[in-house]
Amino acid sequence: MNERRVRYLLVGFSVASWWAARSIREEDAEGQILAVSEDGELYSRPLITYALGRRIPGPAYWGDVVRDVTVLWGRKAVALEAKDQVVHLDSGERIAFDRALIATGSVPIVPPVEGKDLEGVFTFTKSRDLLQVERFLARYPVEEVLILGGGFIGLKTCEAFLGRGFRVTLVELAPRLLPAMLDVEGSGYLERALKRVGVRVITENTVASFVDRGGRLFGARLQSGEFLRADMAILAVGVRPNIDWLSSSGLLLGRGIVVDEHQETSVRGIFAAGDVAETRHFISGKRTVVAIWPEAVRQGKVAGKNMAGKEVRYPGSLPLNVIEIGGVSLVSCGVVNPPDDAFEVLSREEESRYRKFVILDGRLVGFVLVGDVEKAGLFVHLIRERFPLYSLKDKLLDERFGLVALPAEYRKYLVQGAGVEA
């Protein structure tokens, strides 16, 4: 039996693992780090839509990634024996570890629609998908693209296809787009922006079956009975944590891998971070999977520190998303659809701009910005710091809101933070 033993094992080698490796190295310069990756090379997952849109040549990641990590490329972990601290690979290899990070990300949800396996129907989450889509586009004449799902991936893909001049139809089951990320008003701005750039938006409907001609996609029959012509379709109804391979591992699983505030799973020595991890929501404290880049970074950093023996706590996951369609930027963060009357809402709607702030117990807990988004980071900061607003509340809707609005002492403290050392 082919077995090796390492100090640190990273299962999956994308953003959460990169930052975990860096954190480990900050605490432990010696311990061997081994990573296993299904991919063939290092790349940045969210860049595939930008590569599809021809904004960049490919999804390469140019940032610093710790160099002394040994990566087994093109290998897949197929099982974990948590108690015995062993991972099995598809190659038959067994890897024993002292500490492991599970960062296997998410997988696309494929709806059980008739014809989903036809040539011309794709999911779009990995570089492999980008290659297949590009190959299809090079081989066949494509004019009409159908995107099933008005969530984040659906809209990023829509942005990319628009950039290349395809006609796009977006089909969403919910009554509005990005229902989890935006409020009703925000979705309205998004839908109007999409229509302005020529996207056909169909809500409260879905694909009943994909229809082929000569084995290749020709169109889709919608639930309403309408037939839509389509040369290509993208299934973008959502993603779910990639945990199927862990069903008999012994780890406590919910929607994702359940972790504590150290990003440690139910089994000591085994950690999880990124899209696969089920953490707590920064505001509500409820268990949640927030599958976004910034939280993958934060979770990876926390996991790495704790794996190397330095106790660091994760403050919770804060949803933060930005989308840009037809020159309109939309940002959402935290709680944007308050569940009850305990939350206070301030908002201002204009023709091309929208601001909404959600406040709980005198603190900002969420916001939506449409149009003018340059100060978004400052609002995110106020949420993360649980900054007591007091009179600041009256200034939030002012478009000139900036650092100057904060109390002088706090502002001075903030701008003097650790900076460039010569």
Partner: protein, 140 residues
């Protein structure tokens, strides 16, 4: 070395913004920069004003910089302590804008998000500091 902000001394004249544009223009000359160069570079330092308070604010070049961590291309990076954005690699995803607690990263011309302070190349005293008439910005 870093830029320190002394808001008590800021008179809100915005000379820092103007000289920042000049420094990052093609010609380096104020008349040409404002009259002939299009698109004119955005000032990377901006004066915030409210009532009698004003101060010039630019990138703080944070030691633990969330804009670098959240950059999905690696365009945002650090060179000898200075946080810089590589325009060739930037896709304009706006994640750095979302991450900056100071709100000092702006969308530049085109769809790129690169308009941020580069400490004038890290060589010598930055223009915003050098031309501040009242030492409301210092480089130390």
């Amino acid at each position: 070395m870093r830029i320190r902000i002394h808001e008590e001394f800021c008179i809100g004249c915005r000379l820092c913004e103007i000289m920042c544009v000049v420094r990052h223009s093609q010609s380096g000359k104020i008349l040409k920069a404002f009259r002939e160069e299009h698109p004119r570079p955005l000032p990377k330092v901006r004066v915030e004003e409210e009532g009698y308070t004003s101060f010039a604010l630019q990138c703080r070049h944070c030691e633990e910089a969330p804009c670098i961590e959240n950059c999905m291309t690696g365009a945002m990076h650090r060179e000898e302590g200075v946080v810089l954005c590589d325009e060739e690699k930037c896709v304009g995803c706006l994640m750095c804008v979302m991450s900056c607690p100071f709100g000092v990263i702006r969308r530049g011309s085109g769809r790129k998000v690169v308009s941020k302070c580069d400490l004038c190349g890290g060589k010598g005293v930055p223009f915003c500091v050098e031309y501040c008439p009242n030492e409301a910005l210092t480089y130390e």
